[in-house]
């Protein structure tokens, strides 16, 4: 039994990490009132840039490479998200369409660049991966140690830290207060002298940065190269995690962990002998069914920010 947990817990955390980053990015954007269905495209960009940077700078940067690659991926995706910001905030584009365009554009640009740079459909494999390590002392704690502190990715720790930092920023700082007010009632915020447009830009750019990290974590821990299928659907899962988590950073983290858990549970239970006769398809759909059941269990409306999706037009009521 414990063995199962020793397997499930680390897998859960590791596979949740990219979703946590991205979903929290989504929380920032949507809390400011801007729908971000483009998370997928932003992740693609991050995954691509992470690998690209890693491949080119591994020689000179050594073990630091994956970490700096995360930063670079963050910057590039943040820049890319600016496109979504301009369209949906300044140009009042339909935020969903703009997001769909971001998804298409992200993948197209990344794949085109791969073709141009590598002359083939996917990149080479990186050698400097995000490392896994044992946390001294903590790993020796019985039961908990092997579950949480053995062979952990640094990126997983950062993901969890980011969730708490995001919670802190959104609920404990002036910026967070403004962010929330802008997403709920932008006109009220405006009358209080808050620059609605500025806050929304910042939020969307943050969402790009975090989704970029999410993508780069994924590509640098799981695939180790970048190709057309590296990111396929994780952005949408992150979107689901964000909604499941009720637009709350810790909720989003919880939901991402839940997805990872459901997946790990399916994998581990499929190897249990008595379940061996059950057709594989049941295990394949298990995580998704479990999610739906869990949602149905969490009664109550999810509370989307009230102005989500509405461009703010000064003086309109």
């Amino acid at each position: 039994m414990l063995d199962v947990l020793y397997f499930i817990v680390p897998i859960t955390i590791a596979s949740a990490a990219p979703l946590i980053f991205t979903a929290i990015g989504g929380v920032f954007s949507e809390r400011s009132g801007v729908i971000n269905i483009g998370l997928e495209g932003l992740m693609v960009m991050g995954a691509f840039i992470g690998i690209l940077f890693n491949l080119f700078f591994a020689e000179s940067l050594g073990a630091w490479t994956p970490w700096i690659a995360l930063l670079v991926a963050m910057l590039v995706s943040a820049l890319f998200a600016t496109l979504h910001a301009v369209a949906s905030i300044s140009f009042r584009a339909d935020q969903v369409v703009s997001g769909v365009a971001i998804n298409m554009l992200g993948l197209a640009i990344a794949l085109f660049s791969v073709k141009m740079i590598f002359g083939k459909g996917q990149t080479d494999f990186i050698q400097e991966k995000i490392p896994r390590f044992n946390i001294p002392y903590l790993q020796d704690i019985p039961i908990i140690g092997p579950m949480f502190f053995k062979l952990v990715y640094g990126s997983s720790i950062i993901a969890i830290a980011v969730a708490f930092i995001a919670w802190f920023v959104i609920y404990k700082t002036p910026f967070g207060l403004r962010l929330r007010s802008v997403g709920e009632h932008p006109m009220a915020a405006d009358t209080m002298g808050i620059k609605v447009t500025k806050i929304r830009y910042i939020a969307v750019i943050i969402s790009g940065g975090l989704a970029g990290i999410g993508g780069a974590v994924y590509s640098q821990t799981i695939t180790n190269d970048f190709g057309h299928a590296t990111i396929n659907g994780q952005g949408f899962m992150a979107l689901a995690a964000m909604i499941f988590g009720k637009w709350h950073p810790l909720g989003a983290m919880g939901a991402a962990l839940f997805f990872g858990f459901a997946q790990a549970l399916a994998i581990s239970s499929s190897s249990i002998k008595i379940l061996a006769d059950i057709p594989a398809v049941y295990f394949h759909i298990f995580p998704y069914v479990l999610t739906i059941l869990a949602l149905a269990g969490f009664l109550g409306k999810s509370s989307a920010p009230k102005s989500l999706g509405n461009p703010y037009i000064k003086g309109n009521r």
Partner: protein, 341 residues
Amino acid sequence: ACGSNDKDNNDAGEKPAAGNDTEKSEFSIAMVTDVGGVDDKSFNQSAWKGVKEFGEEQGWAKGTGGFDYLQSTDPADYTTNLNNLARRDFNLIFGVGFLMEDAIADIAAQQKDTEFAIIDGEVDAPNVTSILFKEQEGGYLAGVAAALMTKSDKIGFIGGMDIPVIERFEAGFLAGVAAVKPEIKVDTKYTGAFDKAELGKAEASRMYSSGVDIIFHAAGGTGNGVFSEAKERKQADKDAYVWVIGVDSDQYDEGKVGDDNITLTSMLKRVDVAVKDIAQQSMDGKFPGGETKVYGLHDNGVSLADSRGAIPQDVLDQIDEYAQKIADGEVEVPEFVEKKK
């Protein structure tokens, strides 16, 4: 970069043409990829390798009248791409992948003067040759290698989607393992997808954690996760005994961990060999239309890649013995997995 030197000769788009058609040959060949593209490190790439090498050997240029390919971005593109090439008067057109069966059947019926070949699929038409591979024979050798190399006597197989081609890999692999060590029960899992690396990784993690030391994957991009997991284990512990057996092409590069490599070997599926073979026959006027050609060990259609020292020579010798038995017809490798109850 590439392709910008097109001297386009679009005559009202009637027959869109590309490339410099200076040296038009009598015979020309082309192929349509499935959605993977010609650099998918898998059968598309291998098929294109065959087409290209064949064309270059004849001194042709890429483009109409020589050799060329079209990439499909969507299964709905198959027929149009095939039709497109047929209308550009290629003599022999390859369709790559079982998903193209129906499209080839349709177009072959329309374009009766063009010869077609379907890779990995079967189409019954007088102007179509079907090319199949005995993946089970390659899988068998992989199984032999795994069984000979395992220290824990625990071996894993990770498949992508649960479809007949992959089942042939599995069936052969199981048979190969059983031939060496019948007591080993291979841990077999299908992830249900070719593009979910995180599933491959999680599945591999579970297997390695349970003591498995060699995993054969036939799971495309999902397999990336298998490599990733193995490499991390190797990185964390240089002495860890973990291996992956690659599939389709030589996946040695995927296995690099610093100075080590966790790729034990790869099971090669030599689509290029088959493509060249059929192209030659067609050019010689001996196109085996209406026939199904099955390429196995014997025809060099499947084989194991160079293990670059990962497998010691004495083991390689033993593998060769098994290979010989298959080639001699002494061993018949099953195509299907015996239904587990």
